[in-house]
């Protein structure tokens, strides 16, 4: 481990870091200061720029602007190998091990100890692996392949890797997301002992209890910008949450008052082992219900199971009192359910097909005569729907990939609205589209609810959730933890429930 430096010299500082991908500004003003012998927490909403900042530290992304300094010296990392040479180790949320290779090889890949003729010294490598594991107090067979290791053990292997090259900075991106209580405790013990030996640790987590238990200082980020850095002793959970969300809910959301009718969609005790657990809710006609929570809380998985894309282990889904057979998408469609998926490029559209084909794809059979689908019928129908949703298209025969993101999303909506659904499920309906189109999508959803459609919306954007929803269902780690009525829902209450802090402040 590195020798003890005084706590006053920051091991790593990042100032004014910017990173854009095309028109998307992932990071606008990233700042960070890590000191030797501290565990530094980094918190922020989904999309606040945490992961981009991690990738800058890992050398994966070169920042467009800004200075990274190591021990006071401005440094350009120039790739993952450069970051490693500079003593920065990154442990990603999904550990990046080689499943076919042994644990030992995983730890020393690219840096194997050598003997004569530059051959790999396997015996020395295995001996050092044993020493590292002994130091960490874990028992993993150095010769076993990485395949089949639990996430917790994979993370320990990653930590052993960081130890093996005396990392001065250890970045951990949501390391506890997939761990059980015992495993989290063991990880914390390891992190604390690393801190004792003088390493600087950046700890990213959505779980405030962990951040407050483990960290010395906490940096809050919002919308790609640094907000604050404070010693944890001077903070409360409430303060941190306010800084994370800290903006006014805009008044852009048009909500018509509607007659709420009978429950159209009923979900009872829906369970899929390890993904979601006993999820029950109902959505009534004319109502917009938001499903909120953090990324990975299992929201998309639930709606995919409801629609029959994925299977589930137990529970039932009823539409108008009729039970849907599990895992049968066609039956869900026939019952009047539609799902606008999260990833429109991969799941919502066939990017190479013309716009008209994409619009009519859900009604190939109802539009066809004698089993044949005529191009004219298709075009007329597509024309009607694209005009209805005001999609800006050149020619309907152009590939849908030529449209902008917002217009693509409208095509996906057209595709599903044209099936005349009773239940419309939308997963992140406005992700990555511009403000104007966003408002149009919101107006459309309101209008549909006004017409008596039951709308279930998965969204990670709090303003959207609060602006659109009649009721907010909050998921946390696969469970439905809270149901908040429109009047009681605000950013704090939703965020607290989403981070598993409901009932505290």
């Amino acid at each position: 481990m590195p020798e003890q430096t005084t706590n006053d010299t920051p091991v790593l500082t990042l100032a004014g870091a910017r990173k854009s991908f095309g028109a998307v500004h992932a990071l606008l003003d990233g700042r960070l200061e890590l000191r030797a012998g501290e565990v530094h927490g980094l918190v922020g909403e989904n999309g606040a720029g945490k992961s981009t900042l991690v990738k800058v530290l890992a050398g994966v992304h070169a920042p467009d602007e800004g200075v990274l300094a190591l021990g006071g010296q401005p440094t350009v990392l120039g790739g993952p190998a450069g970051a490693r040479a500079a003593g920065i180790a990154v442990i990603y949320q999904e550990p990046t091990l080689f499943p076919d290779l042994s644990v030992t090889e995983n730890i020393f890949m690219g840096r194997q100890p050598l003997r004569g003729l530059r051959r790999i010294d396997t015996a020395a490598m295995r001996r050092r692996t044993r020493e590292l594991f002994a130091q960490l107090g874990v028992q993993i067979d150095p010769d076993r392949p990485a395949r089949g290791l639990s996430i917790a053990d994979q993370q320990l292997v990653e930590i052993a890797k960081a130890l093996s090259f005396d990392a001065r900075v250890l970045v951990m991106d949501e390391p506890t997301a997939a761990l059980s209580g015992v495993e989290v405790e063991r990880l914390f013990a390891v992190v604390r002992s690393l801190r004792e030996s003088g390493a600087a640790i950046l700890f990213i987590s959505h779980r405030f209890d962990e951040v407050f238990a483990l960290c010395d200082r906490v940096t809050v980020m919002r919308d790609g910008r640094w907000v604050s850095t404070d010693p944890v002793a001077e903070l409360t959970v409430g303060q941190v949450v306010r800084r994370m969300v800290g903006r006014e809910v805009s008044q852009l959301y048009p909500r018509q008052d509607t007659q709420v009718g009978d429950a159209v969609l009923r979900v009872r005790g829906l369970t899929r082992a390890g993904v979601f657990d006993a999820v029950s809710f109902e959505v009534r006609a004319g109502e917009i219900v938001a499903l909120a929570g953090l990324v990975g809380a299992g929201r998309s998985e639930v709606v995919r199971a409801v629609f029959g894309v994925d299977r589930y282990d137990s529970g039932e889904v009823l539409v108008d009192g009729q039970r849907l057979p599990r895992g049968r998408l066609a039956a869900a469609m026939a019952a009047g359910v539609a799902l606008v998926p999260e990833d429109r490029r991969q799941q919502g559209l066939v990017m190479e097909l013309p716009i008209e084909r994409n619009v009519t794809l859900t009604r190939r059979w109802s539009l066809s005569r004698l089993g044949l689908l005529g191009p004219r019928v298709e075009r007329e129908d597509a024309h009607r729907w694209t005009r209805l949703l005001q999609v800006k298209v050149g020619h309907l025969s152009d590939p849908v990939s030529t449209l902008s993101g917002g217009n693509q999303q409208k095509v996906v909506l057209a595709k599903w609205l044209s099936t005349n659904p009773k239940v419309l499920i939308v997963d992140e309906p406005t992700r990555g589209i511009d403000v104007g189109t966003k408002a149009e999508v919101h107006r459309l959803m309101s209008q549909l609810a006004g017409e008596g459609v039951a709308v279930l919306m998965v969204s990670s954007e709090l303003p959207e959730v609060l602006g659109m929803a009649d009721r907010v269902l909050v998921m946390h780690e696969g469970r439905l933890v809270e149901e908040i009525a429109r009047d009681a829902a605000d950013e704090e209450s939703v965020m607290l429930a989403a981070t598993g802090q409901a009932g505290r402040s």
Binding site: A58, G59, V60, G79, P80, A81, G82, A83, R84, V90, Y92, T96, L97, F98, P99, D100, L101, E105, M109, G110, Q112, L114, R118, R119, I120, R130, F133, V138, Q139, I140, D141, P142, D143, R144, P145, R147, G148, L149, S150, I151, A178, L179, S180, G181, V182, E183, R186, G274, D277, E477, G478
Partner: protein, 348 residues
């Protein structure tokens, strides 16, 4: 000694360490299995016809396997990185014909020069493949399918219908094709040398291990700072070089050459590699297994006629062998996965 059981997790099976050892043993069994199949095949054929193991026949068997083994070694290095090289047959043809042309132009040229020329030509072809894959980021399957036809086309247009006869070859070169040292043909010694060097390299050198890492998880390889593009380029170039060498060996063995030499041998090579237990999606397998697979396939080609199996059925037998090998791999993988899985990833 450590054990794989973790006291913190009561659920871990107490036999974990033994299971991991067992898992490794299963991998060894994979290669032993091919060797056993080979022994069985030879035994059955010899019982049916004792001349199958006569001195001359043994020599023919070894010569028959030589070229396939050399190509299979190169292919293994490529497949381990999760790529494939379909152009090896065309490179072999080009190199064989170039060797003939060289001796036509310079009958006194030393054999070493011919080998260098063939290997050099192969390096060039492999570098073209590698550059297209690593720089232009086109999948190897597509690139080498293209260059399979391009290289063969170059070969045909160069040859322009010409055939080179054994009589045109210098006698020293032809002697190399038939010479035997201690009962082993000289050409087969080339294959053995290539096999041992490649096996040693892949096992004992950082860049060799990095090839396995790339095939095991390309994204993780990039994140650990492995120069993925450069390593893949190297693998393709080595495969090209070995195909070039195989072309020279082909010329020495057969003497008579036209532009069609080595046509469609690439499928035999891929088959040998798969039968030899190299995972087609990269990351695991060894050149030794692939070489055994090549020997098994070529021996089978010689044995089936002796066993009076209808020639129409021979290809079906080879195909069944490939399917059996893949089935065996799936079964072994599933079994190993079960053994290695301590418990579910999520505690809940």
């Amino acid at each position: 000694m450590t054990t794989a059981t973790k006291p913190a997790q009561g659920a871990s099976p107490p036999r974990a360490r033994g299971d991991v050892r067992g898992a490794r043993r299963l991998f060894v069994i994979r290669e032993l299995g091919i060797a056993l199949a080979l022994v069985l095949l030879v035994a059955v054929t010899t019982i049916s016809n004792s001349r199958f193991l006569s001195a001359q026949s043994r020599k023919d068997l070894m010569l028959g396997a030589t070229i396939l083994v050399v190509l299979a070694v190169g292919q293994t290095i490529v497949v381990i990185t999760r790529n494939v090289d379909l152009s090896v047959g065309s490179v072999l043809g080009l190199s064989a014909f170039a060797t003939g042309k060289l001796f036509l132009a310079m009958p006194d040229a030393p054999i070493v020069l011919a080998i260098l020329a063939g290997v050099g030509l192969g390096v060039l072809c492999g570098a073209v493949n590698g550059a297209l894959i690593a720089i232009a980021r086109v999948p190897a399957l597509v690139v080498t399918l293209g260059t399979l036809y391009v290289f063969r086309g170059l070969d045909y247009s160069w040859a322009a219908g010409q055939q080179i006869n054994a009589a045109d070859m210098p006698s020293g070169f032809k002697r190399m094709g038939t010479a035997v040292v201690l009962g082993v043909p000289v050409l087969a010694l080339f294959a053995v040398a290539v096999l041992l060097i490649a096996g040693f390299y892949l096992r004992s050198y950082r860049s060799g291990r990095e090839m396995y890492a790339i095939g095991s998880d390309p994204d993780a390889a990039r994140l650990s700072g492995i120069p993925v593009g450069w390593r893949v380029f190297t693998a393709m170039t080595v495969s090209g070089a070995l195909a070039g060498l195989a072309g020279v060996l082909y010329a020495a063995r057969f003497g008579t050459l036209d532009a069609a030499a080595g046509t469609s041998i690439e499928l035999n090579v891929v088959a040998a590699v798969v039968v030899g237990g190299v995972a087609i999606f990269g990351g695991s397998g060894s050149v030794y297994g692939a070489a055994l697979g090549a020997v098994l396939l070529s021996t089978m080609g010689a044995a089936l006629p002796v066993l009076r199996i209808d020639p129409f059925w021979q290809q079906a037998v080879v195909g069944s062998l490939i399917l059996a090998a893949i089935g065996l791999d799936r079964a072994l993988t599933a079994r190993i996965a079960r053994r290695l899985r301590g418990r579910r990833a999520r505690g809940a």
